[in-house]
Symmetry: C2
């Protein structure tokens, strides 16, 4: 089963487009064992999600122990739920191959996020893993996303018109997607751009972070993010769920928030009928 099949199977089985970001921030949970924290969240929510998405930054910040906790977390997630390594890597040649090995073979992620700035050959070693998923940053959810991603860009050949850089990235991703394993990352905080990207890439799975704390609107995210079958949107929430409570009932609170958000997403899907 390749990544998209695995994603759709989990999504249909759990009736969910919700992805939970497993981003353990020690500033928000001093003294808590990271794996134990994740384990409780996973055990409390694995029937409610289409995927989990650990962001590697939080594990690397804890050094070797953090990476051990990440490995244990990946191993603990049920096989039926895809695990997306939010790594945002990008490098070239043998370094890019080494990152693909690290993320897919060594850590065992089902999919990863990648940065497009270095171009095709930085992505190619990942594409060769045809059963895995690749999500290329297109329009990110942060305020400074516009610094470069919105710059009006021309094709090198003159006369082909001006579109924002993120649309060039989307078009390249379509051209590169010969193995059917490429998707994009698009921030919920930019609904107009999300709509445009879905037009350009009608078939691709999209990871959509930025609802909740960052302010992305759930209704617009659902409406503009899903494909024609009302699937393939991976709507991510991290801290709104995993830090729903800072008390010892954090897993229960996480379940409550996840359920609420999954059902809200499904409610907006219903209104699209």
């Amino acid at each position: 089963m390749n990544f998209v099949e695995k994603l759709l199977t989990a999504s249909r089985s759990n009736q969910s487009l919700l992805c939970i970001g497993l981003d353990p921030d020690p500033e928000l949970m001093p003294g808590i064992d990271v794996f134990q924290f994740n384990k409780e969240i996973i055990d409390a929510t694995s029937d409610l999600v289409c995927a989990y998405k650990p962001n590697l930054a939080f594990y690397e910040a804890l050094g070797i122990d953090g990476l051990k906790a990440m490995s244990k977390t990946i191993a603990h997630i049920p096989d039926s739920i895809p695990v997306i390594g939010d790594a945002k890597r990008g490098d070239i040649a043998s370094s890019s191959k080494a990152y693909a090995r690290a993320l897919f073979d060594t850590f065992g992620f089902d999919a990863v996020t990648l940065n497009p700035y270095m171009g095709y050959d930085s992505i190619a070693p990942f594409i060769d893993y045809t059963d895995k998923g690749i999500f290329i940053l297109c329009k990110t959810s942060n305020p400074s996303a516009s610094d470069f991603q919105e710059l009006p860009s021309l094709e090198p050949a003159p006369g082909t018109g001006t579109i924002p850089l993120f649309e060039r990235v989307a078009l390249k991703a379509v051209a590169w997607n010969t193995r059917g394993n490429i998707g994009l990352v698009v921030g919920a905080t930019y609904p107009r751009q999300l709509r445009r990207i879905r037009e350009l890439c009608p078939e691709m799975p999209l990871i959509i972070p930025g609802i909740g704390t960052q302010g992305g609107d759930v209704a617009a995210t659902v409406r503009y993010g899903v494909d024609a079958n009302r699937e393939k949107a991976i709507i991510n929430s991290s801290r709104q769920i995993i830090y729903a409570s800072k008390e010892s009932d954090s897993a229960l609170a996480a379940r409550r928030e996840a359920l609420k958000l999954r059902d809200l997403i499904n409610h907006h899907l219903e209104t699209m009928r």
Copy 2:
């Protein structure tokens, strides 16, 4: 001592613009202990370089053991030689802060490489480490660098002219460099662009990979890469040096190659007088 001071001190003391990339590739050295391999290279070359640059991809590909070897390698490099973590990270908000903690506090690099695609707020947490160095990918050395980096880009405001994306990145880097700790990564394989970037950023340190295996010309790299004092070019070579020999004399062979390359660079510096 901040990063630039540390770099200049090492560079002057060793009369060297050479940086050695510590990129242990198990395909090229099956069965060899990574730390031991690095240790021998470092012991044989630390009087010949201005910096070392481990690329994290190769260590991550080896999992927890690889990252332990990376930590030991960093600790083994003499304090007088700056260590640049070639991480090419880029993320936002709390994730970006976590990467800064991981690379500067947890692993202890003196400087890191970062990807600009996500814009200012992805760089800001690193800038706050005023004693550390930050190298933003500008024009990378790989063939596909042109996919996006060469796209003619306009400022959002009309009428401000068209320049390639990588020049927009260079100009933003100048604008962001309020703490004096930003540099750029520019591939030796694109000497025209290197020259242009040095014009735009006369004061910044530049990491310049791409000589040797990738074909960048040393003479042009030196001529266009250095600043007005003929400094602040960090000319990187990895496999040409660390895999100069695959036999047990690899450290000696590495020293021979490093000496040759350092002296060749210095020869080209001399001709600029």
